[in-house]
């Protein structure tokens, strides 16, 4: 049973399109995240939600909009895709306390052409 699952695994789309990536966790965690991994493997947090409330919103273009319908789901919608959005996007979840680790999904490789 996959703990953190995200779909799709691969996404190839044209510039200007709008796309969504879905994430679900079955760990009962309160906090969920989106991370972006660039071509140099650098991981940077984009958003963090706790119990459906936005906690962290890093400097991310407004074209990126997270949505958390419930605490088990955190989706990422991207408008007007640009070439520079090509990356691997990881969803993660954790308990909402200090001494806990994050559990990661398998990633979504987004390629904008």
């Amino acid at each position: 049973d996959t703990a953190v699952s995200q779909t799709p695994k691969y996404l190839v789309t044209q510039m200007g399109n709008d796309k969504s990536i879905k994430c679900e966790q079955n760990l009962g965690h309160d906090t969920m995240y989106w991370y972006k991994q660039d071509s140099k493997k650098f991981l940077k947090i984009m958003f963090s939600y706790n119990n459906k409330e936005l906690i962290i919103n890093e400097t991310v273009p407004n074209r990126f909009s997270p949505k958390s319908p419930d605490k088990a789901h955190l989706n990422l919608h991207i408008n007007s895709l640009e070439l520079g959005d090509s990356a691997v996007y990881f969803c993660a979840s954790s308990q909402a306390r200090g001494n806990t680790e994050a559990f990661f999904g398998q990633g979504t490789r987004l390629t904008v052409v």
């Binding site: 493997k41 650098f42 947090i45 990881f90 200090g98 994050a102 398998q106 990633g107």
Partner: protein, 114 residues
């Protein structure tokens, strides 16, 4: 703001040799520290973590790490590397007691020679 540095971008070792991957962090309070491994095309898997107590922590796959507060370091070690250990390794520090922010280092790519 906290940060994590991993001085070695790429390390190559022979199978059976010992390994040490370096990690330094910058964080004012007692940090929560982690090592994750990422195999090609995969997500991140937790190797080990340090929250408090014994500064030498054991993880999965035969890895261990030692927290040294005086050096702000949390180096990862393995006495004998296997070919399957070839991957990208990330050190991370977590901040906050509510709404965690896991900050990752740039990663170290490990290659293993047969």
């Amino acid at each position: 703001a906290q940060s994590v540095t991993q001085p070695d971008i790429h390390i190559t070792v022979s199978e059976g040799a010992s390994l040490e991957l370096r990690c330094n962090y910058s964080y004012g309070a007692t940090p929560y520290l982690f090592w994750y491994v990422q195999s090609p095309g995969q997500g991140l898997q937790l190797l080990l973590k340090y929250f408090s107590g014994d500064t030498l922590v054991q993880g999965i796959k035969g890895f261990e790490a030692e927290f040294k507060r005086s050096q702000s370091s949390f180096n990862l070690r393995k006495p004998s590397v296997h070919w399957s250990d070839a991957a990208e390794y990330f050190c991370a520090v977590a901040q906050g007691n509510y709404g965690q922010n896991f900050v990752f280092g740039p990663g170290t790519r490990l290659s293993v020679l047969p």
